[in-house]
Point group: C2
Chain length 239, copies 2
């Protein structure tokens, strides 16, 4: 009978109450998780959004709790009430992200037609780069640092998924439906070309200039990538 949360346990009323513990710590005998309150859910969301903003820009080390708290519109101790450690915020963000990130590849269907499948995989990844650039940058930041906090997820979950889809691609190659090439590097090249538009967005916009760097750039990219992956650069006779 561990004396966690002993309100008035026999002894004196002056029992110092050992563990106040915020909502995420939950060391209340670790038995009843006790459902999150409305405020808790709201604040958790706000904090994670703010943290995404800051972490994706400065990386884990470069981001400060103060910054996150400011973006979240609350005081540092208040933020720490919801997430007792900086690492915890980051871990949650990264874990959630990874699931989102893998989804498009998971959808690539062995039973479908190769080209439409690959084509829509590229489209989906490009849409993610457009709609979730901060997530992409958070991921990139983590990779640049050697993925210290998610390496085993990469080595297990991601690797398994890629192995599976590489087998699918390989089967398509065997059937002569797509060109025979390295399925792993094929997947890498799809990742690289699509995420580039989120991670190197500044560069893309600067190089395209004010004229072509506007919203249309994602449509242009989609068109270009489609052609690249379909035919490469070999000139074809006009249809």
């Amino acid at each position: 009978m561990p004396p966690t949360k002993v309100k008035n346990a026999g002894t004196a009323i002056t029992t110092p109450a050992p563990a106040p513990a915020g909502p995420t710590g939950q060391p209340r005998t670790a038995g009843k998780p006790r459902p999150l309150t409305r405020i808790q859910r709201e604040k958790h969301d706000i904090i994670l959004q703010a943290a995404l903003e800051v972490f994706s820009l400065h990386g884990f080390r470069g981001a400060t709790i103060d910054q996150i708290a400011e973006v979240a519109g609350m005081s540092k101790p208040n933020l720490l009430y919801y997430f007792p450690r900086k690492e915890e915020i980051h871990r949650r963000l990264i874990t959630r992200l990874l699931a989102t990130w893998l989804a498009p590849l998971q959808e690539m269907d062995a039973a479908g037609d190769p080209f439409p499948e690959i084509r829509s995989y590229i489209r989906r990844k490009l849409e993610m780069a457009r709609d979730f650039p901060r997530e992409s940058r958070l991921f990139a930041n983590e990779m640049l640092q050697g993925a210290p906090r998610i390496i085993e997820m990469i080595e297990v979950d991601l690797k398994n998924l890629v192995d599976e889809k590489a087998a699918v691609l390989l089967a398509w190659m065997e059937q002569g439906k797509i060109a025979r090439t390295d399925p792993y590097h094929l997947i890498f090249s799809i990742w690289a070309t699509t995420q580039h538009y989120a991670d190197f967005d500044v560069q893309v916009r600067a190089v395209l200039g004010p004229g072509r760097g506007g919203e249309g750039r994602f449509e242009d990219a989609a068109r270009y990538l489609e052609q690249l992956f379909l035919f490469g650069l070999t000139p074809r006779p006009r249809p």
Copy 2:
């Protein structure tokens, strides 16, 4: 008449000597730069190497002078004797890097044959990813943060170079020598696919596994990319 470095100006010999200033500061009336000593050149190099290591891993904000000093094998004050500010080290690194980074594209020759030119551009970029991964990551880190310290170099030097080479590519397209497509996004895709092997190295190695993630991965990548950019994924009859 600002009193910078008044050697013995009339007053007493006990003049407090206003600016000792390290070798890089050079406020000795800013007149004679005085050539760097052997030790200065050596230490500058050592520090820049160490800083590259640390900055490329943690970004500007996440890196500390202490870390850099430790990697460089010297004390923090000693390091600060050579580079009086953290920003200065980073600036030097980034400036030097940008020149190296642009070189391969500069070499792409309008007078050459399109496919060999593009092919060897890809090869060179891939070699850089292999041989200078830290430089690549430093660059990526800067981009992720919105390139605050090099935005105008990107907007001017890089943009001009890309504009020039895009024109070359466009000319090749007009002549029917390569497929008609977007030259800017073509260049982006070459950058993305090659730098991926430096910036996302952990992921690449983890996914390829111990078997194929060894040194051979760059050769495999080169072969794959060559095919991608030449023919895409459309199956071709066996030669």
